[in-house]
């Protein structure tokens, strides 16, 4: 598909607050992007788009559990459409609160749109909101989002969340996830090795240092860190005489755009 024909939709509800940055990033790469309130999805059709982003924020105040209310709404309001979207191997991306939504709606780590969460993003083990730049190690290439990255590559991207401790119900579930290559990003030490839970490199205590995962097909990906805040060089915290050209987060969006070009 020619890139000019592809369309991304950044969804929002009350409390979503990172929609604009994502739009700016995607448009910078030439992808036409619209921000839509969920209420507007009745008038517009999901099938008009090729990429769907659940951005960060505090949807519904993060009450009950981060992402829980929005996740449930997604299921009750447009499960069918979403199922079709995922089955057509279009791209779904969840960032921070959006990742929480995908987990709560059962899109991740599951396969399909189950409506039942099989993982959770629990409150950070520091019991605090954490805003900091961390290192991510690219762990899996199953997803288009890491298409232009190398396994083992280390990228720097900021996080900002209070509930990001990825947990699975059992050892077995973790083994399965690893085996299926669904682990996309892991928190890493400065030398690029996995953080092994060491704070603050692993900022929230996530099991197996998991920062991002995808579904079995790889077209649904969720991550706690915010690549849209590490898109431009001037957004990064370490400058030399001048800021670097790009931020590392850009690569993740580039991967998505590459995929859409071939879609």
């Amino acid at each position: 598909m020619r890139l000019e024909k592809a369309r991304a939709c950044v969804l929002r509800v009350g409390g979503t607050n990172c929609d604009l940055e994502v739009k700016v990033a995607l448009e910078e790469l030439g992808l036409q992007t619209e921000i839509l309130h969920m209420n507007q999805l009745k008038k517009r059709r999901l099938s008009d788009y090729h990429m769907l982003v659940f951005p960060g924020g505090f949807s519904y105040g993060d009450y009950v559990r981060a992402g829980a209310i929005w996740g449930r709404q997604v299921i009750t309001k447009f499960r069918r459409d979403l199922e079709a979207f995922v089955n057509e191997e279009k791209l779904v991306m969840g960032i921070c609160n959006g990742f929480q939504v995908l987990v709560e709606a059962g899109l991740l780590p599951g396969n399909g749109v189950s409506g039942v969460p099989t993982a959770t993003l629990a409150n950070n083990s520091s019991a605090k909101y954490e805003c900091r730049w961390i290192r991510l190690r690219v762990d899996g290439k199953r997803t288009p989002f890491t298409k232009i990255m190398k396994v083992g590559e280390v990228v720097r991207i900021p996080i900002g969340h209070g509930e990001g401790r990825f947990l699975l119900p059992s050892e077995g579930a973790l083994k399965e996830l690893i085996k299926e290559g669904q682990v996309v990003f892991r928190y890493a030490l400065p030398d690029g090795k996995p953080a092994e839970g060491a704070y603050p490199h692993n900022p929230n205590g996530a099991v197996y240092d998991i920062a991002g995962i995808c579904n079995k097909k790889g077209n649904v990906m969720g991550m706690m860190p915010h690549p849209e805040r590490a898109f431009f060089g001037w957004q990064t915290p370490v400058w030399g005489a001048e800021p670097p050209e790009h931020g590392d987060g850009r690569k993740i969006f580039e991967g998505a755009v590459e995929y859409l070009k071939r879609y």
Binding site: G14, G15, N17, C18, L20, E21, V24, A25, H37, N39, Q40, G56, G57, F58, Y60, G61, D62, K128, Y129, E130, C131, R132, P158, G160, G162, H226, E228, R229, F231, W234, Q235, P237, V238, W239, G240, A241, E242, P243
Partner: protein
Amino acid sequence: MRRASDKLSLFTVNLSATDDKDLVEISKSMGLSLSLDEMRYLKGYFKTPPTDVELQSLGQTWSEHCIHKTFKGDIRTENRVVRGLLKNYIARATRDLKKPWCISVFEDNAGIVDFDDGYVVAAKVETHNHPSAVEPFGGAATGVGGVIRDILGVWGEPVANTDVLCFGPLDIRHEELPLGVRHPKYIYKGVVAGVGAYGNNMGIPTVSGGILFDKGYTGNVIVYCGCIGVLPKDLYIKNTREGDYAVMAGGKTGRDGIHGVTFASADLPEGSEELRSAVQIPNPVVEERLKRAILRIRDGRLASGVTDLGGGGISCAAGEMAHRSGLGLDVNLDVVHLKEANLAPWEIWVSESQERMLVSVPEGNVEKVLEIFKEEDIEACVLGRFNRSGRIKVTLHGEVVCNLDLDFLYSPPKVTRKAAQVIIPSARYRLDEPRDLAEELLTLLADPNVRSREDVIRTYDHEVRGCTAIKPLQGEEGGPNDAAVIKPLKDSWMGLVISCGINPFYPDPYWMAAASIEEAVRNNASVGGRRVAILDNFVWGNPEREERMGSLLRAVEACYDLSTALDVPFISGKDSLYNESPLGPVRPTLLITGVGIIPDLRRAITLDLKREGNPIYLIGLTKDETGGSAYFRSKGIAGGACPKIDAKVSKRTIDTLINAMDGGMVMACHDLSEGGLGVAAAEMVIASDGLGLAIDLRRAPSAVGRSDIILFSESASRFLVEVERGHAKGFENLFKGLPHREVGEVEGGRGAGLRLHDLKGRELVLGSSEMRRAWRGY
């Protein structure tokens, strides 16, 4: 009081048959916080008995919080009368500076200055001290919410928050606290969590601030909340017309926050636990949606005016909007969405329920505006309609409950305050030079007022919106930047530079105010900020006490002098007086917030060292100015001279520094403030990855004969600057005629740290990690 309605709990109060004692009693029992003079004035004004709604309206509007009585009143000293602090000092400075880029000052909810590309910047800083003392989390959070609404109240899109917080010492013993005063630790945790929760929830980065600890804040916590926004200049629309409708939108109206303003303008009574209705529960999700709706209405040019509901609730917002435009307003309270059923008319009228805004809408647009609110899940109601009457008339269930002349409402009797001469403590001190300056420096780095704020800063999202170019913590190791730089516009490199200055410990209120102003400007310049506009926030004790008024007057005098000399106009501000507790008055505190610009933010300067071998310059003269310094306070020494400012030198220094930066000469820069040269140098090393500093105190521009004083004096107008080696000559040429000297260089190699030579030529070495441990605590 007489019941005035069969249906409503509406009362009238007959003032004509009252004596002074009755008047005082009425003001007290109704919670009006009006003085006897004001009550007498009302007694003379009302020919028929006013309703309780009318009296409450007056109580709110005439409160210190809403109308700044003290700042507008007459101040009598031994030998003169000052007619208005605001008019004669703060606003006068701005008037005298005549800056064409100041677009709206001291008028609207926020000050507005020009930015770039057709956009303007709006800035406002508020205090929320009393609510935070009672309920730290909710108080601080609603403080943030309130100041964000001030920005929305000028059609601004909020892009950054600031917070400066002052607490009692965290290690104070519970036994030392009188009844009703909560432990500083409890307040600290709650306030920090509240500030973070609201900003994070709304998705506005909290990028700048400060935290101070002192016994003078134990009974009176200070919570300053600031918000900065941007808007297209041509969308700054404020022309409410006759026939326009008043539309209120946002959260429901309830009993929360009733009498917040009169409460804020009164001494905090002992056992303030009882003031339950002053507690407000924050609801940032509603304000987030409200923000979306307001900005959509702005972009569609659907409204003719906007204002926030803050102190005084509907009564103040509606009255102000009408009065500002020379109009009147008929209000119908029946349509207000209520949280509970049985509110009295006056309660609806003055309730300070959060997350509400008021817009005036021309007839043809009302439908569209209501539709936008609906789409964003915000409740809205058409509250009334503007007319030419010049009066505010309020009805409920068909009965008129309030009918007041707006000119009368907005011209309260002037107050007169007396100001006593300020007594400045002696500057003499006795302190032997300590043997181990390295040890002293490490102690200072770990001082509660100097140490890293990382554990707080990281709980605030300072990256949301993806516009934070220069962050509060810089580099791999997170050193403390002097100011934050935001990139608010997608297609412009113009950066918004945000800084603070606060020096409440300097013993002379004049110089403490002067130092705060200079520090705000200095911090701004350190990263490349220029064309700085400033905001003042005074937190003082009861101004009816002469000595409190005396120090306030002296501080305000400095504001005029420094503002004009440094060429930095005031654009907005606020005062919070009556900060008193059973432990006495608050430590008089002035916060100055600086809002500057940098034409190309890619050229912003940070404090981390850049290249081995580059020379380090100390700009500015170091004098024996240690009064109130972090060094002396840590040693418990009361004497010492206040840092004084030669404003001419200061201005030239700052201008020259900016020139050097624009000439590409400056690689790193840090201003010298608390802890002086020692702490500034240490912070630069702390921020740097694998680089250190060598500094020779013998080369410092100074006339002081003691190493410890050179290292820790807090003389103003000083910077440490890393200069690109090839530019050293040019840099020195620029600074000709100003105190400056190359005092050392950037060092590399393993284990690089801070290497100091004292006046006797002895070498002190501090390792980076050892300093980081002291400063950060890990």
